[in-house]
């Protein structure tokens, strides 16, 4: 089993600080990078490219980082 430690609870759920820092850096780079790639004369496209970058970074982070939750299914009594 992967070693998740250390863990910290932020906003009601556990995170690994190192993964969190990596995820934030990647998200900011993807988002601002995509935003700057957009045609500069068009404000709307800028926002769209940026949002798309954010969504891509979200997918990438979800692929590389394992959720720190033990999910189990249990019968209700």
């Amino acid at each position: 089993m992967m070693n998740y430690k250390p863990l910290i609870e932020i906003w009601g759920d556990s995170v690994n600080p190192k993964s969190l820092v990596k995820a934030i850096i990647a998200a900011v780079i993807f988002t601002l990078g995509a935003h700057l790639l957009a045609p500069s004369e068009n404000e709307t496209m800028g926002l769209f490219f940026g949002l798309a970058g954010a969504v891509i970074s979200f997918a990438v982070a979800s692929f590389f980082i394992k959720p720190k939750r033990n999910v189990e299914e249990r019968d209700e009594q």
Partner: protein, 455 residues
Amino acid sequence: MMDPSLLIGMMGAALAAVLLYTFIGFIPGTDETSVLLPITLALVLTGVDAMIVVTFFIAAIVTLNLTNTMPTALVGLPGGVMSSAMIEHTLLIKSHGKSAEIIKKMATASMLGVLIAIPVSLGLAHILSPFAQVIEPYGAWLFVIGAVFLSLISRHKVLSLLSIVPLAMLFESLRHLYWGTGVVPEDTQITVSFFLGITIGPLIFKLFSLLNQNERLKQYQDAPKTISIPKASDNKEIVSPLQILSFDEMRHLSYGALIVNILFVLSPVGLTILVGETIGKRFTSPLKRSTMSVVSMSATVQATYLSGIIIPLLALGIPLSPVAIGPGAALFNAPPVYTPDYNIHHILSFTQLTVAIIVGAAIALVISYVLITKYARTITRVILSRVPHEAVLALFIAFIVLLAFIDAGFINIFGVLLIGLLTGGLHKMGVNYGVMFMSLYAAPLLIEILIGGVF
């Protein structure tokens, strides 16, 4: 007669909103304002018809408020800010092994909340609209009064009152800094990114405090949370709402959903807690009390959001409620498309707005109700085992950095950081979001009053 292509556009927008916000709603901890505002703003800036914008927004809030309650009930992780108010009750219900049952009750209550809130708030908007012309010149004053009023009804009155002016000075000093250095032209009033700075404040404050190693060492946990999902299979057949809720439950949730429409200027979270606790208190058995509370809260959440957007949008044209100032801000102010003097309120007629609201709500209700009663458990399991919390937090940070950059360039990323640190600290001390949002809108007038430019 309505243009058929417009109607198709509206339906498409509603459908997109339902799919997107069903997914977002199931992800624990996704703050409503941070996920509603940037996407609505993007849609507004494309310049699509105002009716499409309204349909999208209504479908989005109805879906989000409904789906947010699902992870809350099933696994005890709040789907958003509104459902964090329910967590204590849903945990108790879950410990009794009744979570499969309660999600159906909550979904049905949520639906009834929408069905009650829409006609009531349309009616209230109709009654209030003659007063709009009277109120309009005093719009800025209403925000000052609103900030004071929200402070007075909050739990920490003196703390909140004393925070108003320093907050106003923070916002205005950043604006004047940007004007003075020529970062933005002097007629540009930066609001959106400041607003999100407040929303994300507690997260920024927490992350900064974790950069202190002593603080971090204190907070390390031993093991990840164990989350149990009830195994009872999702019910594949759709039953009539009337078989799910008892008469008593329907009666209480209707009171809740009715009363909050009149109180649309107050904080949705505050109102929801108030209604849930007031109704819950009437019952002595813990299980019954918690069930009554979450059922009435599910309906109330929808009613606070719908009245909070519908009444200011139809009757006033100024964002005079926490919902309109917050998640719905792009409907009132999204330059260059909408401005405070020329926004959806001025563009659409009462009938057009009513049609858009009904189409959005109807599509969202039907689809998300079916999805939830059939697949709530499956969606929860997939999202909890695939979506890491790190990615969710990083997404929020990315949103805010992007909007800060768009509003006023690189320097504003640090401006918003400053706002986040300060408001996050105040939030931790007990100042609620409503007071801070109102202070942001009241800031220009407050500063004028302070330098003696008004009297």
